[in-house]
């Protein structure tokens, strides 16, 4: 079906273009008139007038068709459906739909349902055919309208370019629409969550055990939704990651920008970027199957009690993943410090390391702080490494050898389980997502602000 539509659309498109262009070229060749635009623009003009209304009507029709047909069937079955709850009506409609498309239904359908299913099938076929006919009639009508208007004085190019400009503007608003969509969808679901669980209990509560009773009197059903242990776990793992990534990344950046030769730089820089290109699933696998058992064995031989899903394992591997972020951002910042400052320092007799420590790094400090903040934001939002290597139970501790859980792990486990969508347990995931989004957004804005505000103007 879809293939047929696409083929028809493409043929309408090429027909309109060819005809429009031919008519314009005809004017130029036969009558010798001066065309305002190139013939191809007249073709494009015809195409736009033919195809755009068709597509618009197709879109609206396809969206409206389903609900409209369903409403009509419901009106037919009004007698049967009187007094049923919303979900029961939904089941009846499912039966009708399944019967109509030849699928199986639950139990033997009554004759009224069978009639309704037959009517449904009929309506769908009629609607599809009607959609096809009406839309393409509209398309041909649009083409005819445009074809009639093609003459040498028509400013086809301007019209076409104006339409193109509208498209360009529309595509650039998609970025805003996405942000708006994220914020709205998260807020909507989070509001539903906060209607059931008080806001301050969520933000400041100390116990996280998201269980909801499925039926009355179920044991273990009291849900506590205090998110502080989760935030603490996220912070612990991020701090461990920064302890690994910051020194290594910073010193690599310093070496590469100050001491390394061009050849060394051109070889090592892309290799370090490999660390950034490895998918996080691979890091998670590595952390869960190699690093965590290794740490546990080392801990056992030394006498420490290291959990098999320790925060140290997940944090260390996350740190390895973040090294290229810190390193490349710091590298850019350090290279941007003007050479004149370094040379002034050398002129006073300082060694290279003293110059770096006392002149270059303080000058580059805002940029480095911004880079570190961005790295922290990346660490907080990281999902796969912690899902595979960190634990699932919320644990309020500062011990890096214990198993902790993070915000992203909780979001994944809450949403890939099998609770219904309305229960506070699943909605808690959206609340956590909202908190995550807001925190990373703030970190990014602060990082940018810091860089912009404290950046020294040297030229």
């Amino acid at each position: 079906m879809a293939l047929l539509f696409t083929a028809a659309l493409l043929s309408l498109l090429s027909f309109a273009y060819f005809q429009g262009q031919k008519r314009a070229a005809g004017y130029r060749d036969r009558v010798g008139a001066q065309l305002h635009s190139l013939p191809s623009y007249y073709g494009a003009y015809a195409v736009l007038w033919a195809v755009l209304p068709t597509l618009a009507l197709l879109g609206i029709w396809a969206a409206v068709q389903g609900p409209l047909v369903e409403m009509m069937i419901r009106a037919d079955l009004a007698a049967q459906l009187a007094g049923l709850s919303e979900s029961e009506i939904g089941l009846v409609m499912n039966d009708v739909r399944n019967l109509a498309t030849g699928g199986i239904t639950s139990g033997d359908p009554e004759p009224a349902i069978q009639e309704a299913a037959a009517r449904y099938a009929n309506l769908m076929v009629t609607a599809k055919a009607a959609m096809f006919v009406v839309c393409f009639a509209l398309g041909l009508g649009g083409f005819w309208f445009a074809y009639r208007r093609v003459n040498p004085s028509l400013r086809a190019r301007n019209q076409v370019e104006r339409t193109i400009m509208v498209f360009l503007m529309a595509s650039s608003t998609i970025a805003i629409l996405v942000t708006l969509g994220i914020v709205l969808s998260l807020m909507f679901e989070a509001m539903r969550f906060f209607a059931q669980i008080p806001f301050f209990d969520f933000l400041f509560g100390l116990k996280w055990s998201p269980q909801i009773a499925i039926r009355e009197g179920q044991t273990g059903s009291s849900g506590a939704f205090g998110a502080v242990p989760i935030f603490a776990g996220t912070l612990l793992i991020s701090m461990i990651a920064m302890c690994v990534a910051a020194p290594i990344g910073l010193f690599s950046a310093i070496y590469m920008s100050e001491y390394a030769s061009r050849r060394f730089r051109s070889v090592v820089k892309p290799v370090l970027e490999i660390l950034a290109g490895i998918p996080t699933v691979v890091y998670g696998f590595f952390a869960a199957l190699t690093v965590a058992p290794l740490l546990r064995d080392i801990g056992d031989s030394v006498g420490l009690d290291v959990a098999s899903e320790s925060a140290l394992a997940a944090g260390a591997v996350m740190g390895i993943m973040i090294i290229p972020f810190v390193s490349s951002l710091s590298d850019d910042v350090i290279t941007a410090v003007p050479q004149s400052m370094r040379e002034g320092s050398y002129g006073l007799g300082a060694t290279k390391s003293e110059t770096v420590r006392k002149v270059v790094l303080p000058a580059a400090l805002p940029g480095i702080v911004g880079a570190l903040l961005l790295a922290v934001s990346r660490a907080i939002g990281e999902t796969m490494i912690v899902v595979m290597a960190a634990g699932l139970t919320a644990n309020l501790t500062a011990n890096p050898f214990a198993a902790v859980t993070t915000v992203t792990v909780q979001i994944v486990t809450l949403l890939t389980g099998d609770q219904e969508f309305d229960s506070p347990k699943t909605l808690a995931a959206f609340a956590l997502g909202l908190v995550l989004f807001v925190v990373t957004l703030c970190l990014n804005i602060v990082a940018l602000r810091v860089v912009r505000k404290y950046r020294e103007q040297y030229d």
Binding site: E161, I164, F167, L168, M169, S171, S172, T173, I174, A175, I176, V178, T179, G181, I182, S185, L186, E189, I248, L250, F251, S252, I254, Y255, M256, Y259, V271, L272, G277, I278, P279, T280, V281, V282, Y283, F285, F286, A288, L289, I320, I323, T351, K352, S353, E354, V356, R357, S377, G381, T383, M384, V387, M388, T408, I411, V412, L415, T416, G433, T440
Partner: protein
């Protein structure tokens, strides 16, 4: 006249050098320190880079060592009697008839006959887990391919199960040999027999049994210590208790503990006597290593050992009960205790025997590349995930490339410098830094709930990934457009082109290499994304290969995530092999991006 000697005051000690040589000394020392600090600082930088590089090396080595064996699958060269009655029920060799035939019976019968020493249903059940569940399907496919095989005896390679496969790749338990001196004489050829040697040939086995006894002693001594601690505590409570009932209770408890200590001390003494006495035989338990004697063409499992005699159970019948000379019989050991591994001694012996007889065939694992996911590791493959990834990436490319290029063009060339444009730019930069899981939440809330699109479909996955890669493409596109010099635009405008014409005909083609590089890199990032796809449901167990954009599918990184959670040991190598395939794809894409950039980029 007074002596006008000048008033020489000693200058205060300011720490400054008093003589030129002292000054140079000080300078030399401080220079040495500063140069040393300089060298150290430089070393730190090199160490940091070295650490980062070593992480890469360690990661790759780990993945490759774990995964390279997944590309090989162990097969059994099985001789199957394709009896016409079971294989071809309708007797006409038509595909329907052949498909209806029952292959499981003849396959299993052939398998049990190939193994040595399978007697009884218990043995059959134990042997069954060594063969893959798909073995009979392999036989059926062979018959369907060549109907002429009906009624003949065919030799086909069938897959081993995952436990056997791991054994053949050397990852579960090794069969090691021990030196055996002196001759040995078995007392029979079947059942439970005794093997007598004319020298202390079995002391190694006895030592192993004694190690187990020593472990038992350790356990008992720990218990005794625990009892003693409790007695001490009770004594303390007794001295402080005032209530008569309580005192009686405590005395009873102390008496029980004392008795327990006495019993255990007796046990310890008994075990120590057994250890000290070299002549007695000891029973081997499941918690100690296993020992098997290969003698006279058969194999005997050691149940109890004395220095010059063992009692054992015959696994594979011996040819005769003649005396075996030194060097013609052998002691084999399985170092890992039977309770710590998945394969029993008998199963290991069957597999070892098949390998000895040359019936083991290691072939390239084509199943890995041609089949979808499965619960059985030897039948699991990445083809379903690869096709799903392909469809998802296609949708992502089709959606993100046009939108990204159009946005970049608009922002760079046509947008007026006002607040609205600033807002768009800020938004794009923010979106580039949002965690990927938030995009998954957006996809879940909007595409699945509001728009009602099918769950787990490449269509929805592609749309979510589009939203994620758009910022990358837009930023790369803007950089590419900025790099085109204004002279090109102005020359085109000077020739009478409109702004859009100048853009489409002149600027865009020149900026295209940079845009394509950015797109390829964005696609590579999208290929490795897992978290947002988990949210929209692509984490289901999908066995069929998806056929279109709305069929339920999974992608390669999510497949890796699912397999990494599986408990079977064989999935570790499959996961590593899938990671190798994924990394290979990513390296290819990144290399392609670098090549495009090098080949087509113009430096102005």
């Amino acid at each position: 006249m007074t002596d006008t000697t000048p008033d020489v005051t000693v200058p205060p000690d300011t720490g400054l050098p008093k003589t030129p040589s002292e000054a140079s000394n000080r300078v030399r020392q401080s220079l040495r320190r500063r140069y040393a600090a300089e060298k150290r600082f430089r070393m730190y930088g090199l160490i940091a880079i070295g650490l980062a590089l070593s992480f890469i090396v360690v990661l790759f080595t780990d993945i490759i060592t774990k995964g390279h064996s997944a590309f090989i699958q162990s097969h059994l060269t099985l001789t199957v009697e394709l009896d016409a009655d079971s294989v071809d029920p309708q007797g006409d060799r038509s595909p329907e008839s052949l498909r209806d035939g029952s292959y499981r019976g003849i396959t299993l019968r052939a398998f049990f006959e190939t193994l040595r020493g399978v007697s009884g249903r218990a043995d059959q059940r134990e042997a069954l887990s060594l063969l893959s569940d798909a073995a009979d399907i392999t036989v059926r496919n062979a018959v369907l391919d060549q109907p002429d095989l009906v009624g003949t005896t065919a030799t086909l390679p069938v897959k081993f199960g995952d436990d056997a496969d791991i054994f053949f790749k050397g990852k579960s338990v090794a069969v090691e040999g021990l030196p055996a001196q002196s001759t040995a004489t078995p007392s029979g050829t079947q059942g439970e027999i005794t093997i007598t040697a004319d020298g202390p040939a079995f002391t190694a086995i006895l030592e192993q049994a004694k190690i187990q006894l020593r472990d038992d002693i350790q356990g008992l001594e720990d218990d005794i210590a625990g009892f003693q601690r409790r007695i001490d505590r009770y004594q303390e409570e007794l001295s402080q208790a005032t209530d008569e009932d309580q005192r009686a209770d405590l005395r009873d408890s102390i008496a029980t503990m004392t008795d327990a200590i006495a019993t255990d001390t007796e046990k310890v003494a008994g075990i120590e006597a057994r250890i000290a006495n070299p002549g007695d035989s000891e029973v081997l338990t499941r918690e100690s290593s296993s020992y098997l004697i290969r003698i006279n063409g058969g194999v005997v499992k050691v149940l109890a050992a004395a220095p010059n005699r063992i009692e054992g159970e015959v696994f594979f019948s011996l040819d005769s009960d003649r005396r075996a000379d030194e060097g013609s019989w052998q002691i084999m050991t399985l170092p890992i205790a039977e309770s710590n591994r998945r394969l029993s001694d008998k199963q290991v012996m069957w597999l070892w025997d098949l390998e000895e007889r040359g019936l083991l065939d290691m072939q390239f694992n084509t199943t890995f590349f041609t089949s979808g996911d499965s619960r059985e590791p030897e039948q699991a493959g990445i083809w379903g995930a690869a096709v799903g990834s392909f469809f998802t990436l296609m949708i992502t490319l089709l959606l993100s490339f046009p939108i990204g290029v159009m946005t970049a063009v608009y922002l760079e060339e046509f947008a007026p410098k006002n607040k609205w444009t600033d807002l768009i730019e800020v938004n794009i930069n923010n979106l580039a830094a949002v965690p990927s899981i938030v995009f998954g939440l957006l996809g879940l809330a909007m595409f699945l709930n509001v728009f009602g699109l099918p769950r787990s479909a490449p269509l929805v996955g592609g749309m979510v990934l589009t939203l994620m890669t758009l910022p990358t493409i837009i930023i790369a596109g803007r950089a590419a457009l900025k790099a085109v010099p204004p002279s090109i635009r102005e020359a085109a405008l000077g020739m009478g082109a409109s702004r859009i014409q100048a853009m489409t005909h002149h600027v865009l083609p020149l900026a295209m290499p940079g845009m394509m590089t950015g797109t390829i890199i964005g696609m590579a990032q999208a290929l490795g994304e897992t978290a947002p796809l988990l949210m929209i449901g692509m984490v289901a167990f999908i066995v069929d290969i998806p056929g279109g954009f709305t069929d339920p599918a999974t992608v390669l990184p999510v497949q890796i995530y699912i397999w990494a959670d599986s408990p079977e040991r064989a999935f570790v190598e499959k996961t590593s092999a899938a990671i190798m395939v994924l990394l290979a794809f990513l390296i290819t894409m990144n290399l392609a991006a670098v090549l495009v950039r090098k080949r087509f980029e113009k430096r102005w």
